[in-house]
Amino acid sequence: MHTVQVIVQARLGEKICTRSSSSPTGSDWFNLAIKDIPEVTHEAKKALAGQLPGIGRSMCVEISLKTSEGDSMELETWCLEMNEKCDKDIKVSYTVYNRLSVLLKSLLAITRVTPAYKLSRKQGHDYVILYRIYFGEVQLSGLGEGFQTVRVGVVGTPVGTVTLSCAYRTNLAFMSNRQFERSAPIMGIIVDHFVDPPCISQRPATMGQPCNYRAPDEDDGGPYAGVQDSQEVCTTSFSTSPPSQLYTSRLAYQPPALAGAAELCHPAANPNQMHAGKEGGVVLVPAQPAHGADAHLTAEHAPNTPGSSGDDDGLSQSGEGRRDEGRRSASPSDPIESLNAFTRKIGAFVNKPNTQITAASLDLPFAAFAPRGLDSEENDPMVQPPDSPPCPSPLQASLHSQGSESSGPQDDFVMVDFRPAFSKDDLLPMDLGTFYREFQNPPQLASLSLHQLQSMADDLDSLPEKLAVYEKNIDEFDAFVDMLQ
């Protein structure tokens, strides 16, 4: 129970501060001051349903990140396992007790080390961190490939050996979850109640859909098929949904870049991540509506066109701002292109500078085809599909084939990194490049807009009058100042 408390509290996003008291209160187990959050206890009890962890029945806490658009990604899974290897040498209970408290302390230390801690400290209106407690087999498939495991500790007890470990994902590229609305919600999803969930949290019943995660081999038919299926699923569902919905879920985007860009990418040794992080500098909070059930589809997400028939419209409208759905689906897993892809929103109508991507004008990852020039997107055959097929599948097929010829060392559609002139470092997130991209399209200055100009003129005109009034009251002001001193 306490392990769950510690884990969840570590992910609340706040700094934890508890006091030591020299006199025992008697109710603090393991002599550690861990405040119990009742909701967490309740959830844990519900999941355990009166049983204790045993073989094959581990207690797991899964931490996931959920953005305000409804996409979610598993970040970590903490497991408390028990096996039968009884340590008969340990007879004295206080030794076990002490070891368990050391284990809890280690857990405290380790929860601050994994990448999810930094993410959870930054949670807010862009994304939240959720936890789920389940009991049973450990499911690690949702963590993406290359996840790492840390063993927090092992304690032998007369009835078995308790092992506490954490598996955390290192691939932090965000994958959209296409089958979102199609699956039944898993029981026990609890939204972190310190932050208001923007929408109902749902998760697919099966974690780790192959199409949502990076497929190492783009030519692999397997994930492809999955992708196609999901697309069909999506398209059918979209056809009935209002135009403002849509489209998104195929988008993968970087979780709120915000300040976290660097941190998001660095834990992974994966070079892809670096790119992701950098690109993320451009992308602010993606404002694409989640599709399907979770929505806070807001009408402001301008006329996104429905997936199936609207593809052409979507394509033609956005022009270079068009987002290439097909491409996305073709290689859903590529973090870079996913980032890129979704920045192109139909932003023509968007006038929210911060939270939405202002379309075409935004420098897009395709700009990273730097050798061909920044505005090469329009001419880039990969960006714009040769035609606008109604059904994404052929689109995806054709794009995919194009993609495989694309340049770039990684999977399809990888952008060559944007190298601004005079920047010398090729390893690291180039400050200059990121800066350049970020500031290529700043929002218009408020004071420069016409309306503002007029009011400024008015202000200026009224200045002399105001000055005269102030001079008259100069004595009052002096008295006031004296009073303050």
């Binding site: 700094k15 934890i16 501060c17 508890t18 006091r19 030591s20 008291s21 020299s22 006199s23 025992p24 209160t25 008697g26 603090d28 002599n31 550690l32 001051a33 206080y94 002490n98 070891r99 408290s101 050391v102 284990l103 302390k105 280690s106 405290l108 230390a109 380790i110 601050r112 080390v113 994994t114 801690y117 930094k118 400290r121 840390v150 063993r151 927090v152 500790g153 092992v154 304690v155 660097a262 941190e263 660095h266 834990p267 470092d425 690291l428 400050d431």
Partner: protein, 218 residues
């Protein structure tokens, strides 16, 4: 008895030394502290509660947990800042080592004074580098944060092997095992020492002095 010895190595920038040391030392002490013992009449005792506190580092992308005891924090900070000053004054290429040693006191008969028998020694080797550009510093920030994370995991692994720990003492013996001078927590008896190595790798007088003092103390 054999003393367990662990060595951790970190490479940091000058301004990160303090926080890195604090992070590691506090992490170790968190695991090696208990609440205050309150002995009751029948020879049993009850243990107080240890609170924890999250600390964020300013110069490193890292956060750690420490025992929320101001007194202990003060003691550790003092030792670390002495170490830091020694490092910067040494003028050498900035290599030093700070050691946290847990020991037990063994009372000996007069005229010999008490023996200090270490049962666990943690040595943290520090290598200070100087960076030129802001970009390098930014990279260093993140890298050191990652490295510290790995060190914390190492520390936790070692501690969780549950090797020798002194037995829980009776009331009369508690000062031989635990440091009872603090008001709110009770770590095992420990001492912090450090030594600066100059560029030739030979240790400077501090260690020599310490060695001599120890032998004489016996």
């Amino acid at each position: 008895m054999n003393c367990r010895s662990e060595v951790l190595e970190v490479t940091v920038e000058a301004r990160q030394v303090e926080e890195a040391m604090l992070a590691l030392l506090h992490t170790i002490l968190l695991h090696r502290s208990t609440g205050k013992f309150h002995y009751k009449k029948e020879g049993t005792y009850s243990i107080g509660t240890v609170g924890t506190l999250d600390i964020d580092c300013d110069f490193i992308d890292f956060s750690f947990v420490r025992v929320s005891s101001e007194e202990l924090d003060r003691v550790i900070r003092k030792a670390v800042s002495e170490f830091k000053d020694a490092l910067s004054n040494s003028g050498s290429d900035g290599m030093g080592q700070i050691s946290l040693e847990f020991y037990q006191k063994k009372k000996s008969r007069w005229p010999f004074s008490d023996e200090c028998i270490p049962w666990e020694v943690w040595s943290i080797k520090v290598n200070v580098v100087n960076l030129a550009t802001e970009q390098e510093r930014q990279i260093c920030r993140e890298k050191v944060g990652e490295k510290l994370g790995e060190k914390v995991i190492n520390v936790v692994e070692v501690i969780n092997r549950h090797e020798y720990l002194p037995k829980m003492p009776t009331q009369s013996e508690v000062d031989n095992v635990f440091d009872t001078s603090l008001k709110d927590v009770q770590p095992y008896l420990y001492k912090i020492t450090f030594q600066i190595t100059d560029s030739l790798g030979t240790s400077v007088s501090t260690t020599m002095r310490r060695l001599i003092k120890d032998t004489l103390a016996l």
